[in-house]
């Protein structure tokens, strides 16, 4: 294996259990104490693994075990409290598909904005513009000069997927994003993912669909309760997870 692209070294991240943990000046003044809860839990702890270039890793585990949190740590949008995650190169995060888009700007402006935020120059976007719009579909093309918020949520996700997957980043993080759109669009997404994989990109996929996982991934990582339970060939990890699910 060549140098790892993703190195996760003993990562741990601690969250507050209560939703309402914001400090309130009013409460501090009235009661003289900070009444917010100090009750915390580790969403992830002692997670370590390396991912090599071109590997396709599937992340499985029950709901609420830190899969999305781990993806965010790798994407650099959460900072771990313990250990560190280092990425050799940039990341194309298919996490919040429409995260970089702004409702009041047109679809066209949004493509340039999101592409720019992820480091593409204007010329690079000019080149890819048609591909992006083609991929997103004819409805998106028809509405290019329409404010983005007038798009249906399906169209918004399509455009998001199209922009992010046209980035040059060596690592692609996918958080259940394949579940967007209708069957036809999903097939298109599958096609795009396979293209990216065969171009040597590294893929990190969170999914609850065994079929998707086995289709793309060669290696599986199984998280449960914020701990790493298994790390091995996708088939084995997926079977073990399925067996655990039946028991529960």
């Amino acid at each position: 294996m060549s140098d790892p692209v993703i190195t996760v070294d003993d990562v741990g991240i601690e969250f507050y259990r209560s939703r309402k943990r914001k400090l309130s000046i009013r409460e501090m003044v009235l009661k003289g104490t900070d009444t917010s809860s100090k009750d915390t839990f580790w969403a992830l702890r002692n997670i370590s693994f390396d991912v090599g270039e071109g590997e396709a890793v599937g992340l499985v585990g029950p709901n609420g075990t830190g899969k999305s949190t781990l993806l965010k740590v790798i994407a650099g949008v959460l900072i771990p409290d313990e250990g560190q995650a280092t990425i050799n190169g940039g990341v194309a995060p298919l996490i919040e598909l429409t995260g970089g888009f702004l409702g009041e700007l047109t679809a066209r402006e949004n493509i340039y904005l999101t592409g720019g935020l992820h480091g593409l120059t204007k010329e690079q976007i000019d080149e890819r513009f048609d591909d992006i719009v083609d991929f997103a579909g004819p409805q998106v093309r028809a509405g290019l000069n329409m404010p983005f918020r007038h798009f249906s949520s399906g169209m918004q996700s399509r455009l998001g997927f199209a922009v992010i997957t046209s980035l040059d980043e060596p690592v692609i993080l996918v958080d259940e994003a394949l579940a967007v759109g209708d069957q036809a669009f999903r097939n298109k997404c599958y096609g795009r993912m396979e293209e990216l994989l065969s171009a040597g990109r590294t893929l990190f996929l969170v999914s609850h669909s065994p079929a998707d996982l086995k289709r793309f991934c060669t290696r599986g990582i199984y998280l449960s309760g914020g701990r790493l339970v298994a790390d091995g060939p996708m088939d084995e990890v997926s079977d073990r997870y399925a067996a655990d699910q039946k028991k529960a």
Partner: protein, 263 residues
């Protein structure tokens, strides 16, 4: 320092964000630009009416008093708009902050730059009134006008410092916005915008000196009025500017983890 380098490397992205801000503000209507000018003009007119027409105290500031007001109010507009907006900088853009791993100081810097460009765009009013008073023989420009751009740089640094403190605190502590709003209202009156420091009683003058805006305004106004510069206020102001930047960077780094979990 590596953070600074990382931000400099992403100048292009900063430019995209600032352009977007300005487009959202100005693209919709021509009035968008007019508001930038009307607001300080209306304020200047109000204070002119109160102090000069009603109280007959045109000696509250330098002469001509209207020009004195304009400089102060334009500077204040940049200051107050930046403080209000940087406080919300991370919350307003939480979707963007959550989906990109840019150095997060950029979300604050971009607000200060956008508001700073609005300030520069409002300067034509200052030019017009200066020309008017100079031609009327009531005002005389001097070489200290060179201090004006220095003050712009200083104000930028100061505002970034304030923003780096306010933005994470607003995310973590409820009611920060309300408290800031009240403090800003008081700030306006303890800042020598509608009067000069020297008009205040001695004991108050000492307190006013510790307002970083006092020294800043000394530089802004020096080129327009033939009065000595209050160097003590200027020194305090520069020390505080660097203090704010240093403390801001430190605090932002400390709170960044918690903020990211919260938004």
């Amino acid at each position: 320092m590596t953070r600074l380098q990382a931000i400099l490397d992403r100048r292009a992205i900063l430019e995209i964000l600032v352009r977007r801000d300005l487009r959202v503000r100005y693209a919709r209507s021509i009035l968008g630009y007019l508001w930038t000018i009307i607001d300080p003009l209306a304020m200047a007119l109000i204070y002119f009416m109160i102090f000069v027409v009603i109280f007959k105290r045109s000696d509250a500031g330098h002469t001509p008093y209207f020009l004195f007001l304009i400089v102060g109010l334009l500077v204040w507009q940049w200051f107050s708009a930046s403080i209000t907006e940087t406080g919300r900088a991370l919350i307003m853009e939480q979707k963007l902050v959550r989906s990109t791993n840019l150095p997060r100081e950029m979300w604050i810097i971009r607000v200060v730059i956008a508001k700073g460009i609005e300030f520069l765009l409002s300067l034509p009013i200052l030019v017009v009134f200066t020309a008017w008073y100079v031609m009327g023989g009531e005002a005389h420009l001097n070489w200290r006008l060179l201090l004006f751009p220095v003050a712009v740089v200083q104000q930028f640094l100061m505002l970034v410092g304030f923003g780096l403190i306010l933005a994470p605190v607003t995310v973590l502590v409820d009611d920060t916005t309300r408290v800031v709003r009240i403090i800003m209202r008081m700030m306006f009156y303890v800042t020598p915008i509608i009067y000069v420091i020297e008009r205040a009683p001695d004991w108050l003058q000492t307190i006013f000196m510790f307002n970083p805006l006092a020294g800043l305004l000394e530089f802004y106004r020096a080129g327009f009025f033939e009065v000595p510069i209050n160097w003590a206020a200027v020194a305090v102001s520069w020390v505080m500017t660097f203090g704010l930047i240093g403390f801001g960077l430190h605090l932002f780094g400390r709170l960044e983890r918690a903020v990211l979990k919260e938004i």
